[in-house]
Symmetry: C2
Subunit: 157 residues, 2 copies
Amino acid sequence: MSDKAGAFDLADYVPYLLNRAGSRIADDFGQVARDEGLSLQMWRVLAVLHHREPRPVGEIAEWATIEVSTLSRILRTMENQRLVHRRRFAGDYRKVLVSRTHEGRAATEKLVPVALAFESLATAGFSAEEVETLKSLLRRLFDNLGDLERMPATRAG
Amino acid sequence: MSDKAGAFDLADYVPYLLNRAGSRIADDFGQVARDEGLSLQMWRVLAVLHHREPRPVGEIAEWATIEVSTLSRILRTMENQRLVHRRRFAGDYRKVLVSRTHEGRAATEKLVPVALAFESLATAGFSAEEVETLKSLLRRLFDNLGDLERMPATRAG
DNA sequence: CGCCGTTATTTGCATTTGCAATTAATGCAA
DNA sequence: TTGCATTAATTGCAAATGCAAATAACGGCG
């Protein structure tokens, strides 16, 4: 060994592997999205809305993993581009419901098959079972970390 | 179903699950790192150097998944904080070799066990085999996407 | 040796981001 | 019903980021 890495091997460290795979998949698909005139974040917003629409800003933020203030600005841009539409929710005027315009839906429909093809590319060589395993492990990992971030370190010691 | 999501289900889409898990693990560990006075990016740089040192900037960028120009600035900050040290490589003066200072090493040593504990937390409830499976699938996914980003769309069709 | 295309890093500049403060609305309690 | 803590979204402002241009050094070729 050139320099003893101790017991810590980056190339075998889950957070590293996860970040690396996540960054690459995001960058690559971001490229694809950009070819359609959308930023990656915009695509994410559209995908979330495709899933359920209309939705309040906070919920989109959570699903798309975009900080609300950042999202708020992205939505303004998207609204200017006529991709989405914002209106206050009649049942609770604090909430702003976002939905796609016709163009927004068209853009989504156009990109969905590309996204699915991209997913296939990313998992090329995986058996159907392996794909399911990956999904399941990622969900479990996500769930494992869910609580500590919500609790603001109520350290009693 | 409230609104037919067509054939595209976000909650079952690999890039989404990957991004979600990756963001959460990064945010959570970022919090931990910050408690030690380091940004997440700084921790990544230190971890890369822990693995092998000294290293040229470009190589650190690749391993840490940080854009080189961004990294260049992070390194300046870290150098000001006496965490790392930069010098030109005698064998090739274009290259800048980065290594940790004593303090940089101390900070790394302090964080490594925390990082490992964090990895355990993230994979809590996983069997040893499942952890290996996850790593392997993430590596394969990463490799699958490796080429298209390097090739600037030399579409012959 | 001197020129030139390539590689490595840094810097300029515009954009994106995140945190904290602000604005606005809700709903519970006195 | 008035007041107040809570929730939702937006905006101010500073910091982080990314791309492209600048700077510097390498390596091969004439």
